[in-house]
């Protein structure tokens, strides 16, 4: 009797387990694809890769998650020294210069079809172009938007469909949204958190008051200007004068607090909309990034770089990238992640318009594209980012006067830029 059971179970289990892995036949070209997309973004990307592999019997794309952008950059730099670079890699637009400066990658301008050049938005091409040559194919592009907790708005007596438009509005709303619910003297819900993560948080705000981060040639820091000081004073006021924002929280702490409903508003990348909509235990509102004087948002994200030098592999890699960023996939990628659709044809499509009718939060970042700009590119951006982070921490946590701190940081950055120029 027992044998019957064992035999029956083994048969069934082996059949079932075989369903987990179905072997495929060998393909002519196998391309390694290093990417930085984790969790649901990684799932969406791998679904697209599977579809490509399914419909292209001669090419097999092998995607591998290689950590987030910083880690990816380090791995690529090491791989370039030791060998073993992938055929395709997803490189953050701000790190593209690291590879362009040392001629580690070749331009792909001549390989791009005219119709793609016209259909993909010029902002995205600008983000992956250096010296009038295109070095990457734009893929996952994003802007910051204001995430806000509609439930907290309702509790504070604010209209959840009328989010703040300017940073002054944010201050006024923040006063109502900063609450000590249990009366123990410590704040249970903060109005806002602006996580000034170095260059990326600071740059759009300087631009909003007419300033710039670096000069046009990328040889001098300008962030210590009157505009830069004005931005930092505004943020200091939000933390210390109006007490609507914690002064010493990291992006990670802020994001966790936001998920738990302890922060009512905050600028976050649009790439998180899908995750937030599906996982937050309260109703999410998305609004354009508030402005000080002018509207300006930072364009971020990554492009796909072809590292392979073999003609057949380069051709196959570009075929895959062109497919991955075509109209249909650009729409799917936007719907499944929140990243921006790349193409005019995608934005105007009936599919996307009907999707936005049901999911209006996803449309907000697209409406911000006309006033989006990437950061000021330089191969020294990682080093500059570290200097700026220290300066911001000094101003926000140690409550130092912004002007001298920014002056000192700007001097360091300018010396760095000019010493690199001299080499």
């Amino acid at each position: 009797m027992k044998n019957t059971v064992i035999v029956a179970l083994l048969t069934i289990f082996s059949i079932s387990i075989s369903a987990f892995g179905m072997g495929g036949r060998e393909k002519e070209i196998e391309l390694t694809f290093w990417h930085s997309m984790s969790i649901y973004q990684g799932d969406a990307l791998e679904t697209l890769v599977d579809e490509y592999n399914h419909i292209h019997p001669d090419i097999r794309i092998v995607p591998t998650f290689q950590g987030l952008y910083d880690e990816m950059k380090t791995k690529l730099v090491n791989a370039l020294k030791t060998g073993g670079t992938p055929d395709i890699a997803q490189v953050a637009i701000e790190y593209l210069d690291v590879f362009v400066a040392d001629d580690k990658i070749d331009p792909i301008t001549s390989y791009i079809r005219e119709e793609d050049k016209k259909d993909i938005l010029s902002q995205f091409w600008n983000a992956v172009s250096r010296n009038r040559e295109i070095y990457a194919y734009p893929f996952n592009m994003s802007v910051q938007v204001l995430y806000y907790n509609k439930d907290a708005f309702k509790k504070a007596g604010l209209d959840p469909d009328r989010p703040p438009k300017t940073w002054n509005d944010v201050i006024e709303y923040g006063k109502l949204l900063t609450v000590d619910f249990d009366g123990d003297g410590s704040v249970d819900q903060w109005g806002v958190l602006v996580s000034l993560e170095g260059v990326f948080g600071f740059t759009p705000l300087i631009r909003q008051v007419g300033g710039e981060f670096l000069n046009e040639k990328g040889t001098k820091a300008l962030f210590n200007s009157e505009e830069g000081v004005k931005v930092m004073k505004l943020l200091q006021d939000m933390a210390y004068k109006y007490r609507i924002m914690p002064s010493n929280w990291t992006l990670f702490e802020g994001t966790s607090a936001f998920l738990n409903g302890k922060i009512a508003m905050g600028p976050i990348t649009c790439a998180g909309i899908k995750f937030a909509e599906e996982n937050l235990p309260w109703e999410l509102g998305i609004a354009p990034l508030p402005y000080i004087e002018n509207k300006s948002v930072l364009l971020g994200g990554a492009g796909l770089v072809v590292f392979s030098h073999s003609t057949a592999h380069r051709k196959a890699a570009l075929d895959f990238i062109t497919w991955l960023t075509n109209k249909e996939n650009s729409i799917k990628w936007h719907e499944q992640t929140g990243y921006l659709p790349l193409r005019k044809s995608a934005i105007d499509s009936i599919e996307l318009q009907s999707f936005h009718k049901l999911n209006p939060n996803y449309k907000v970042p697209i409406d911000q594209l006309p006033y989006s700009r990437p950061p000021d590119f330089t191969p020294l951006l990682p080093q500059i980012d570290r200097i700026v982070r220290h300066a911001i921490e000094d101003i926000m946590i140690n409550r130092k006067d912004p002007a001298p701190v920014l002056d000192a940081a700007a001097e360091k950055v300018t010396i760095l830029l000019q010493s690199s120029e001299a080499k």
Binding site: A8, A19, N279, P281, E328, K332, I350
Partner: protein, 379 residues
């Protein structure tokens, strides 16, 4: 500004703003792509717009969303995508835009198979019951289903069930022969049913069963259902409910009747963790043949050991997606029954594996009056 100019300007603004959402669109052609099994005509029957017709853009977008929801609800597709090709742009606002629409569907795998049954140890005794299950969910290319189940151990027999297309009317036909070793009963059951409606709305229907064991019994189950087990788009809480009175006649002129009430509550808690609770309150009276008694459904306790003409049951589950593998869900659960004047309680942990052929394959380890490993394919 003179009032006349002001009103003229206001009029122009209203006309311009109105024309943006009321832009006329002509759908010249509708094509369907990606359907290797599902019939074109069946897909078209879910569309709420037609080719050769003019629509205002806003109306068309609403109709596309409605059609997409109806198609998604059939359960046949992983993805439904409406791709448009603009044949003629609108040069000025108010001009007719002409488009071709292609409905691109990605079909699911329709063949499902796997094990069903349980192994347990209770009161110093091992017990087991296993079966093999196979099903096809898109028969005739119109979402008709066929399911076949064959007992492998303890019982012998066969069960076959076929149901008609997902649409307004859905039929169901079934036959089962079971030689139940535990109850020492051989039985034949023929089932016929008809249901109206699909999706999360109100769905009435009825089932007729002819059951032959020691007696021949004829049972009638009218029912009303509402809600759906699948999460409706963006809802955090959803539910299912079913009320089914039943009335049965036996060949010895005895009879039985009662009421079966079930409800399911689903709550999306946080980070895709879903709480699912199932409640049941059923009772009847009269001369129940064994087939229609209420048996225990507490995992961890041998199901067939406890039966009654009534049952109160609650089942609680947390569905927790595995952080690094979206094909695995961890499901802690606990079940409670009250029947035959006895409270039964059991709990344990389940693993749900989502594979190409099982959606999902469920393994539960449960502790009740004994310990039980159960496995089945959700269908």
């Amino acid at each position: 500004m003179r009032p006349a100019y002001f009103f003229l300007l206001l009029f122009c603004i209203i006309i311009t703003a109105g024309s943006a959402s009321g832009q006329p669109v002509l759908i010249e052609k509708i094509d369907i792509e990606g359907n290797r099994v599902t019939h074109d005509a069946y897909i078209r029957s879910f569309l709420t717009f037609e080719d050769g017709k003019k629509y205002e853009l806003d109306t068309l977008l609403n109709e596309i969303n409605r059609s997409k929801e109806r198609l998604t609800r059939t359960g046949l597709f992983e993805n439904v995508f409406f791709n448009d090709e603009v044949k003629k742009e609108n040069a000025v606002p108010g001009d007719m835009m002409i488009i071709d629409l292609t409905i691109q569907v990605k079909e699911k795998n329709y063949f499902v198979f796997g094990p069903a049954g349980y192994l347990g140890f209770e009161d110093r005794d091992f017990y087991a019951k296993t079966a093999a299950y196979a099903g096809y969910t898109n028969l005739f290319g119109n979402a008709s289903r066929i399911r076949l189940s064959v007992p492998l151990y303890r019982d012998t027999g066969i069960s076959i069930n076929q149901s008609g297309p997902v649409g307004k009317l859905r039929y169901q036909l079934g036959y089962a022969y079971v030689n139940d070793q535990f109850l020492e009963v051989k039985s034949h059951t023929i089932t016929a049913g008809l249901g109206y409606g699909s999706g999360p709305g109100i769905k009435p229907g009825a089932l007729l069963e002819l059951h032959s064991a020691d007696l021949i019994s004829f049972c009638f189950f009218p029912y009303i259902e509402a809600g759906a087990r699948e999460r409706p788009d963006r809802r955090r809480t959803w539910y299912t409910a079913r009320i089914s009175p039943f009335f049965g006649l036996n060949s010895d002129n005895s009879s039985f009747f009662g009421l079966i009430n079930t409800a399911g509550l689903y709550q999306d808690i946080f980070l895709k963790i879903v709480y699912a609770a199932t409640f049941e309150a059923s009772a009847g009276t009269g001369d129940f043949p064994h087939q229609y008694l209420f048996y225990s459904n507490v995992r961890g306790t041998q199901f067939q050991k406890y039966s009654s003409t009534y049952r109160l049951s609650v089942s609680n589950e947390f569905h927790i997606p595995w952080p690094t593998n979206n094909r695995i869900t961890l499901v802690p659960f606990w079940d409670i029954n009250y029947l035959a004047r006895t409270f039964l309680v059991g709990g344990g942990i389940g693993l749900h594996f989502f594979t190409r052929y099982q959606d999902p394959l469920v393994f539960d380890v449960a502790f009740g009056k004994g310990v039980m490993l159960s496995f089945n394919v959700r269908h």
